[in-house]
């Protein structure tokens, strides 16, 4: 596994761990209304946790394979470009959903979290595509 494959796998893991936990906590309580929940502190905490996790894990990965960490050749760029296209398509769908929610005048909490869910899902799709393309071309 190259640095870039490990990086993609790490990002997927961190997204699932941090934002999976975030959404479980957000929608976890059946006995309370989601729009009453003070989601902003939890969201800020999740973003800080995700950023720290990604930074530390990438420093560790770079120490494992220092010669690959800053190397990006044409295959890496092609794979990254195609994976970003897939992620971008998913993000586009998410934006359409969010626009629909906005037009329907849904509460802000749902709009903000639908957008966040779209961002996370798009990033997971992009990173998973990278892994798939690396596997297919190696």
């Amino acid at each position: 596994m190259t640095f870039h494959e490990r990086s993609a796998a790490t990002i997927i893991g961190a997204l699932l761990l941090v934002f999976g936990a975030y959404f479980v906590v957000l929608i976890g309580g059946v006995d309370r209304r989601v729009d009453d929940f003070a989601y902003k502190p939890l969201l800020i905490l999740a973003v800080i946790a995700f950023t720290a996790l990604i930074a530390f894990s990438h420093v560790f990965l770079a120490l494992l394979t220092p010669n690959e960490a800053n190397t990006l050749d044409e295959r890496d760029r092609t794979i990254s470009h195609r994976a970003d296209q897939i992620g971008g398509t998913m993000l586009g769908v998410a934006v359409l959903v969010v626009i629909s929610l906005t037009v329907l005048e849904v509460a802000h909490v749902y709009i903000a979290n639908a957008l966040l869910f779209g961002l996370v899902a798009a990033q997971i799709a992009s990173e998973a595509s990278k892994l798939w393309f690396y596997r297919r071309t190696s």
């Binding site: 190259t2 050749d73 044409e74 295959r75 071309t137 190696s138």
Partner: protein, 72 residues
């Protein structure tokens, strides 16, 4: 990314050149060893520029390194 129909003789040329390693060739043409391995195994089709760099490394023509598979 579709499988490529471009075939190559990189492995044979490396052996004929006295056992040039994939890493050495990769460093000379500006790709990672993993990418060169993917090219050599026909899993990834290189850009024209990298293809020319590989041919130049072995001091042969592009046709001596790469060929395009038959339609059949």
């Amino acid at each position: 990314m579709k499988p490529t129909r471009v075939t190559n003789r990189i492995g044979q040329l490396r052996r004929e050149a006295g056992g040039v390693s994939q890493g050495e060739l990769a460093a000379n043409v500006g790709v990672t060893r993993q990418t060169l391995n993917a090219i050599e195994r026909g899993k990834y089709s290189p850009s024209l520029e990298v293809a020319f760099r590989i041919a130049r490394f072995f001091d042969v023509g592009l046709d001596d390194v790469f060929a395009y598979g038959d339609d059949d």
